[in-house]
Amino acid sequence: MKYSFPVMNRLFRFYYEGFSNMSSWGRKVWIIIIIKLFIMFAILKIFFFQDFLKKKYDNDKQRSEYVLDQLINSSDDHD
């Protein structure tokens, strides 16, 4: 632990100075990245892309039961 602080400090300064001295195109793309990630994770994932099986069933046993039914029930008209 004694030696980890200087390393952490250097790492922090490396990223801090990198972001501080970023060029104008760098700033633009970071704004785009933040907006994009916000749309993806705070809007699309939460409101539109919930996991179908996780939302519908509480545990893996129920989920596997459902998929098993999906796989075998549609064969009725063949039999």
Binding site: W25, K28, I33, M40, K45, L53, V67, L71, S75
Partner: protein, 520 residues
Amino acid sequence: MTMIENVDLTLVGWSRAQFALTAAYHWLFVPLTLGLSFILAIMETIYVRTGKEEWKRLTRFWMTLFGINFAIGVATGIILEFEFGTNWSNYSWFVGDIFGAPLAVEGILAFFLESTFVAVMFFGWNKVSKKFHLISTWLVAIGANLSALWILVANAWMQNPIGMVFNPETARNEMVDFWAVLFNQVAIDKFLHAISSGFLLASMFVLGISSWFLIRKREELLAKRSILIAGVFGFLSSLLIAYTGDSSARTLSKVQPVKFASMEALYQGKNNAGLVAMGFLKDSDKKIEEEVIKDFVFKIELPGFLSILTGGDKTGYVPGIIDHVSGNKEKEILSVSEKINRGQYARNVLKDYKSARTAGDKEQVEKIKAVFQDKVFRENYFRYFGYAFVDNPGDVIPNVPVAFYSFHLMVMLGFFFILLFAMAVYFLFRGTISKKKWFLWIALLSIPLPYIAGELGWVLTEMGRQPWIIQDLMPVSAAVSQISSGTVITTFILFAVLFTALLISEISIMVKQIKTGPKQ
């Protein structure tokens, strides 16, 4: 198809369209990252070895464009993972850890790569040693390409599912042989073909933009240095693409023979089969299982080449679509009807398992579980499980014109790229490239062509596999979640807007940086 009767066709169509849209847009960003990272590493290596500042300027200029593409494209692939869980839940569950494990490795690799070595690449100039910076650039290149390996391994498994056993208790396929999944011949071919297409695309990008500088008579020395790297790298990549494409086609003829026959529009199998170099298709008056057979309006054919390519011998028999649909006893090819019977048998065993479990008959449950472990059952019955969903044998024929044209256009573009890069290197060494305005314009206007070729390759891969989402095991219609098609349409539109905005942003920021040129 039985399953199609039970699901909303609109839902299947829109779910497919949404996946195609996101995958196609994602692939607009990926290949440039794969290829440009290596070009940067080569340029920086020359800088470190020679100490000439012009190579550093050059590296930093292309690194800026790499950064823009990387930043805009990063995480666009995660949307595909959202779609697996929401739109394709049956599929996601059925594939189990086979799909999850490679994607998890890819995610971890990408995270460490992006948070460490990319940061050193951009923030580390003058802060870390030259050698450490160079190592970071190489690690970004190697890491980005290895990251692509895992997603391609997962995709290859869908084309050629091996190394797993289906567990009826969990209704999932479980990986039993990681190495079989990793060294799946389709995965090896796909990985080499995909990364070499990225190398080629990036080379064309560098060649085209450098040509623009020469047309504008700006930064001529740096443009010529860039053309030297891009020309040689692009030429070697285009040869590698031809080689890996040929290898892919050979593998395809064994593991996805209907797709292979469709991309050559070969209906009737034959000895001494010709390779169609170019042709146009039309509907004929003949049918196979209710599907109209396509005929050639005209074609240019290399006699015997298809037999040589697939069997190594001119007299070799190449089965056609009809052989695979109706069967060919002499060549030991099962008919689709026979495969349907075997698939239904496998599904009836699964039904018996479910009945035994519901009745609490533990002895019978264990007995049937053992059947799914049995090699004979797996190789002769369960491997055709997806055929249980098929009603009409003609349903297993993909859209032949789509497979044929996407393949042939891609190959034609491939030969054009070999010629273009060879000419670039030739003109550069002759010292005449600056005077060849017509060539510079062709190079500039050719920038979109490798993107088109790459997308055509994916169209062939995915549409040529129809109706399967997992070859022979699961049709697309059985994979889809029972959700509202309205939601899928809404998110399709949202994605179309989001990705188009990202693409416009990327192009506009890049164009501005290109016009600004390398910093002094």
